[in-house]
Amino acid sequence: MKISFQHINKWFGKVHANNDINFTIPSGTIQGILGENGAGKSTLMKVLTGFYQADSGEIFLDDKAVTISSPEDAVMMGIGMLHQDPLDFPPMKVIDNFLLGTRGGLFPNRKQVEKDITRLSQEFDFQINPDSFVETLTVGERQQLEILRLLWLGVKVLILDEPTTGISANQKEKLFATLLKLASQGLTVIFVSHKLEEVEQLCSRVAVFRQGQLVGEVMPPYDTDQFVYMMFGKSVEVADKSTFRSEVPYIKLENISLEDYRLRLRDINLEINCGEVIGLAGMEGSGQRLFLRMLTGLMRPVGGSILYGGHNFTGRTYPVFQKAGVAYLPAARLEEGLIPGMTLTEHFILSEEHHELFVNQKSAIDLTEDRIREFYIKGTPASQIEQLSGGNQQRALLALLRNKLRLILMEHPTRGLDIESAIWIWSKMKERCKDCTSIVFTSSDLDEIIQYSDRILVFFGGLVSKPIDADTTTVDELGQLIGGKGW
């Protein structure tokens, strides 16, 4: 299906999220959409799928003007969207997820649908069991499930909003193969991303957005520097690999064993030095989260001991770890890290240590303004946290970290951030390493892990590798280990 945007405008209060957007996507192509955080990419896609109504402008499908007033309308017209965080129902079964929202009689034909799922999975080489629960799937599998569902509903346009942020390299290859196959069958694919190399590899044409405007359309052959310049209006330098690792061990893990109801990790031994950065690689759900939560005191190991600066912390609780200078930035920013409904100022008030009963509003606002400036947060002290774009929420989370920390634990610190923000955030974190702060982080982006870690641990199905030196390993080697080869 051919899609054409004509003079699309969308405002959120004073923010002009889409400013007079005009462009056409021909049928059967893979259209890339690039742009910095907050450029308006998701907004345009949500206008196309009926989540938002444009303030003005028109959309043409195969040269016919259409009004898309709800997501359901969009699916009826053949447009389906895979959201970055798949819009599915984790506690329900795969088959129920498939059926939820379908039209028809009171009792759906489960047998038939089960067959359809199996047939489609085979066609695309996915392994999805209709009877498993969605919450037991990895993010990559949940994306596959959504793609299958949308294809099953018969969409002719498939929109993917940053689909590669939560999945492993293998899953990514599979996804790209699927998309190429679909495009060759005549489907129109819209691929929204920050990652230049992915867009270059996959897309047959690219539209670049900046600050609500379409700054240009590009055809192959692509030039990476040109993309960067179009996205940011300037060139962006990747920082040199720097290390502040000292030879002083600060944290010692001795024969640590961890378990939850589906995973057991046995006998982990590790020393983390002052100023050292350790990257945790592995498929989601391979134990990285247990490991981080153990280091924060949120999870008690079933065996072994934890020494922090010579003190035995085994069995201590989170507040004790916090006092000792441990901070934890969880992946689910809005659920575990920030408090929706509260303003930036209120967040700073909560995170600072206080000794008096009443809050000094004036000084709190001053502090907030300082941090907003220092961390380039696009927002005001009175902005509510959920109104910030994803990249700015992440900046806020980092701005909340207190000074003088000994250990920072982060899950996917740059997930969903554009390159410029990611580089900037890491430069801020590395500055802390100079003061002997150690960092342990997880990421599904192996380039990020190799670039910023001193040593790397790979997790696979309950196994934890020996520390691997980041200078001597490669993306390929890590990829093999993550996939379970070479143990």
Binding site: L87, L106, Y261, P301
Partner: protein, 330 residues
């Protein structure tokens, strides 16, 4: 088996019925993502109005109808103030719980201890003659038979039908349900009112069938609504487990009645005991969610740790993820 035991068992089946309707009604509402906290007041008010209407117009059917309507109206107030006016569901529900109860005592005062109508027992031919099963399950009034069907229908609807899947969807993740074509607000209205209607039916079930009559404050209905709320949680938002919880509570109540005639434990204790016991069970079911329990478990030796954590996981239930969270399209 002796007659006394059979009577006790039959009593459990009967006593569980109103609680069962109220809890499964609340189950519908909460599955959709709303909390209707007014249950306790609703049951008392609908018990009174059902009894009074049935007596005045001489129609049991109208008595039940009025009870259901009262429940639906109270639920509609909860829905309107939380979905449309965006006020706190918990606050409004709590206020209504108190208000409806006191309103019932006030309006019902002139009818206290008046003789009225009641549903008589209708043994089911053939089935009632089966030994044991017959007297326990098939020698009751119509509401009891209705409850058997109701449990099955509620379960099948919630988990096996298209509409039931959507119901789970709007309580679990309304934004995703919206993306799949649900009118989330309208559906939440619908299921809150439906739930209220079922809760409202519990009232006349007491006053016209199970605990016949209206005795004002002495009717012994105060507190049951709170238990119904607890049973919904105990039941993990699954009508089958909720029904089991209702029978458990019915059992505790019956036990009290039996002990009353056979021992000399003070009657006040026997009447009050089912309530803390029920709350204790609730705690037991959900204790596995607490962080300190995880920590204690981790400190145990391997064998008991594994067994215990399996048991706790099996007991554990989790609420609809968006329970109590308002929904906006944009």
């Amino acid at each position: 088996m002796d007659v006394a035991t059979l009577t006790t068992l039959a009593g459990i089946v009967e006593y569980a019925v109103p609680v069962l309707f109220a809890s499964i009604g609340e189950n519908f509402t909460e599955k959709a993502g709303l909390i209707n906290l007014s249950v306790n007041g609703t049951i008392i008010l609908s018990a009174m109005s059902g009894f009074v209407v049935a007596m005045t117009v001489d129609s049991i059917f109208l008595g039940f109808l009025v009870g259901a309507v009262v429940g639906a109206i109270v639920a509609a107030i909860v829905a309107f103030s939380s979905i449309t006016l965006k006020q706190s569901q918990v606050a409004i529900g709590f206020v209504l719980a108190l208000l409806c109860r006191d309103l019932a005592y006030f309006l019902g005062a002139p009818y206290t201890n008046k003789p009225g109508l009641f549903l008589s027992k209708v043994p089911i031919p053939v089935l009632a003659d089966i030994p044991f099963i017959g007297p326990v399950f098939f020698n009751h009034s119509l509401v009891v038979y209705a409850s058997y069907l109701f449990i099955i229908i509620a379960y099948v609807f919630m988990f096996k039908t298209r509409s039931g899947l959507m119901l789970q969807g709007i309580g679990e993740r309304p934004s995703a349900a919206f993306a799949r074509g649900a009118n989330v607000k309208a559906l939440r209205y619908f299921y809150t009112i439906l739930g209220g209607l079922l809760i409202g039916l519990a009232g006349p079930m007491y006053s016209l069938a199970v605990k016949i009559g209206w005795a004002g404050q002495l009717s012994g209905l105060d507190g049951i609504g709170w238990i119904a709320l607890a049973i919904t949680i105990f039941g993990g938002w699954n009508p089958l487990r909720v029904a089991f919880g209702a029978y458990l509570f019915g059992g505790l109540q019956q036990l009290g009645i039996t002990l009353q005639s056979t021992t000399n434990i003070p009657i006040q204790i026997l009447q009050a005991a089912p309530f803390p016991l029920m709350i204790f069970t609730l705690l037991l079911v959900n204790v596995g969610r607490a962080e300190w329990v995880d920590r204690e478990l981790a400190a145990m030796p391997e064998k008991p740790r594994i067994v215990l954590s399996k048991i706790l996981r099996a007991l554990r239930t989790s609420p609809p993820a968006s329970l109590g969270v308002p929904f906006e399209n944009e």
